[in-house]
Symmetry: D2
Subunit: 297 residues, 4 copies
């Protein structure tokens, strides 16, 4: 099928299960909420060598937050709940409590799984902490240099989805990059999903394992490498394509990942010079979830 | 003494030794070099619970980079070289190689200590890598989805300095925060130093250990907590001060940290409502380095 | 009354009638739509000495634009329709047609008053123009260096409202400025209104005429000048206030200005150190419209 | 000749004389100096239909400004000194005096031509103004809502140069746009020059006059329109080029324009997909100044 004149390949993205915690960070302004969210979700692209996959989900204004201030939702993802609790503690204590003007709220207050991250962080107050209620949420005030840091008692988590994805094939690097940037922008308008890679974009889409260096767990996907299109027999790069960018999408459930995939593709195909959209899958060996591109439009 | 009418307390910042690797990331534009640098230095405020301390040092234009493109210097810091090598591999492979349009260069080519990070990352190419020379640097080309990723063979590291610092005492949170923001901006004009906390700023300056919860390794510094100034007998908060922000400064050597401290303080005192500048020390128990505020001006 | 602990003075903002044209600028990304919108609305704070009052209303995503690309609504305001048509022609031809990747759409397609700005600008194509339909809108394609520039045939205008306003009184400049910044951010979430001053903020709220220099049409409002609070007998500056910022709000109708005023005040009072909100009026001598602060909450 | 593998056509940019005033705007931070500079230089791309050509020259830190705060240099250009004085008064009074935290300084204190813009603006204080000296400059303090606005007595101007230019021919719009963006970035590192168009870039490079609509003073340059390359016999668009962007450069003298042209081209050719650099001239009929591309490298 075609969308805005761009071929959408009849294929699917293969995604897999992951544990997802969701945190709402508020600040005196969007800017400062974003500063903390950026630090807290850094070094968090892929669990291959990062301690978590993490990203910024969306920005909300004061009407949607317990303290009436602007906020940013983030997600932190790991394969198990034990690792997730540790990442929550480490990332919130080091990157949000330390950040100017922020407060921390439960992003999944109705989830069954709840970590008492706020309760644990209050000990930083060394006896000067106090309990309070803000917008119906039980929270703690921790007196610090800038004033009081407020954190809700618990942070919720769910069985979510990781590895949703699509590929943008373009006539030039800058076309592909602008399309990818617009796609990330569109995903950030959707609730429930993140794009954990740098700026939301993957420049180095990989295959599991390796053909040559068998000690590697993931290596370049040579069939999608434009500079190898004349050297690799089974290349997937059409003649008029010179760059490919991938978006990887995680979310609280398959629905969130599906909605984000649709929004991202719709934004990408608006950029002149985008030639084709496809997605990555491994015949079902990697994960239990599928997002069929053909079903989206 | 006074600077621009603001009291500079006659005290010193106490700093300690750390291992520092320095990496130059170039990109098609400053924006994209910065996107990768931000991801690679995230979750990197304090080694207390982060795998490294990391930050953005400065931005350079194409005249100062091997490939003639705009670039960003980052630093990654850990207590030992073994941990440092692992952090370099993990952060560069997951956060820079994956990022749009970037290349990676040795930020300390003359250092005695050199890691072969580029050599190790080239195996991602699964046999399609090639060696090349760019601006006199030995590098590898790794074919990927966006095109070829270029990384220099080695990354250098030195015995550096961490924990340089100063405190900004202000009439209001927003005064203190603007002063801190300007100070971070000024430090980013200096070569050799980073401010690893969120947005470069610490809102939660701490003391080592705890008075009440002895299981904690660091807790709030109650003597510098404005909301406790009427509750703590030995408070350091003057009557006209309602917020304190700290800058923590790491660098390749003591000189770099000292220059950055001076530039940061000069920028901070220009904001109306800043009342006093001081610094944190622990009687020499924490570290071997001192930056005397009184010697700076 | 009080809002979030901040006094809202029982007074009203006095506003006056103005002619308002509304233009939708789309671009390949939000960034580039915003670049054109910023240039096109510059030098447009007050009709006292600017050729128009102009500002950015809000950002919309591709689902709300004729060409499916991200967009920015701007408003251009003058006292008469003749001046308005000239400003539309000059600002769109010089600042949007010249800008990268933009297209121009009618922001008030249902208004009675319609200017044929697109029709007039097509002559720039020097005979190479063509007519087309995009999303149901009649438009022209103008071949240029970057490709084709698309502009809709007409641009609508209405009898709108200018001079809506409120004042933020704060303990320090930086508190007031952050509160004003948050208020502008909140107004940008509302449709139909703009804040035409630099960054949306007025630092120099004035009174009509002058007491001393009678050749001046507007001069500083000394009763709201914090540095004169001990020198002016009838000062309006409370003892704990050291800075005042004003938001001036224009809109397509009184409802839009009222909604924006409410949203702006709600965002401003969330910043710690804001002491009072009031508004400017001149006993009805300036304008026909009133926004009562007391009716908003 | 070639630069980084890109053809630099052996031609010249034709520039013409203009009057240039230079203003230094300082602010509490770079951000706020930039907000005022952006408003003050808006609606200022071309004197064809704008009241002035205006742009941001460069950013400087506190070590280079009279009040020790970060600053932004802007230039305002018109064909005569009378129009220039009016533009200075209008743009500074409406867009800088009104902006948060700014002060205004003479950007050309040694120029022979000096306007007493500060002297004239002090009447806004309605009798509450005072004279002071800051960093050796005679200035006035004007009490306002946010506090005191400081403006230097005079603003200098010189016989400058307008219309310096070069064209970037690229394989795709996004390649050309990224190259143009990088070029603007590089020009902003140079002192003495501005790029007055939106974001510094011209998407609609024109020819003087018209072939078809003789009532037009400037129309599209069809020989450089990629979408007309198969329709126009004497096209200048090579087969592999699909987009062209132009930078227009004004400056305080020919040297400043020349330096900026060189820096801009060097940055542009680093973007993969740029095919050719050329420049616009009209056989000497338009202006008295030439920048030979071949002499730059």
């Amino acid at each position: 099928m075609e969308l805005n004149g761009v071929e959408i390949e009849d294929t699917y993205a293969e995604a897999f299960g992951i544990k997802v915690a969701r945190v709402l960070i508020t600040g005196v302004s969007k800017h400062w909420a974003m500063v903390a969210a950026t630090e807290a979700t850094g070094f968090g692209t892929s669990v291959i060598l990062c301690p978590a996959e993490a990203g910024i989900e969306c920005v909300v204004d004061g009407s949607e937050t317990p303290d009436g201030r602007p906020g940013v939702y983030i997600q932190i993802c790991t394969f198990g709940y034990k690792a997730l609790e540790e990442q929550l503690l480490n990332r919130i204590s080091q990157c949000v409590l330390t950040a100017p003007t922020t407060a921390v709220w439960n992003g999944l207050p109705d989830a069954e799984k709840q970590f008492d991250t706020g309760f644990k962080l209050k000990f930083f107050a060394d006896g000067y902490e106090s309990e309070l209620e803000v917008g119906g949420r039980k929270a703690y005030a921790i007196p610090m240099m800038e004033g009081d840091f407020i954190i809700e008692h618990g942070i919720g988590a769910v069985d979510g989805v990781a590895g949703g994805n699509f590929f943008i094939l373009a006539d030039s690097q800058m076309t592909g990059l602008t399309a990818a940037e617009n796609a990330v922008d569109a995903v950030m308008q959707c609730k429930g999903s993140i794009t954990p890679f740098p700026g939301g974009i993957v420049a180095s889409g990989s295959k599991p394992g390796a053909d040559t260096y068998t000690f590697m767990t993931a290596t370049t996907n040579q069939r999608f490498a434009p500079t190898l299109k004349d050297k690799v027999e089974d290349t997937n790069i059409p003649a008029d394509v010179n760059a490919v960018y991938e978006l990887v999408i995680n979310g609280v459930d398959l629905e969130a990942v599906t909605v984000a995939t649709k929004a991202g593709i719709e934004a990408a195909v608006k950029v002149p010079g985008v030639k084709k959209i496809t997605a990555g899958n491994y015949g079902g060996s990697l994960g239990a979830f599928k997002v069929n591109l053909g079903d989206l439009f």
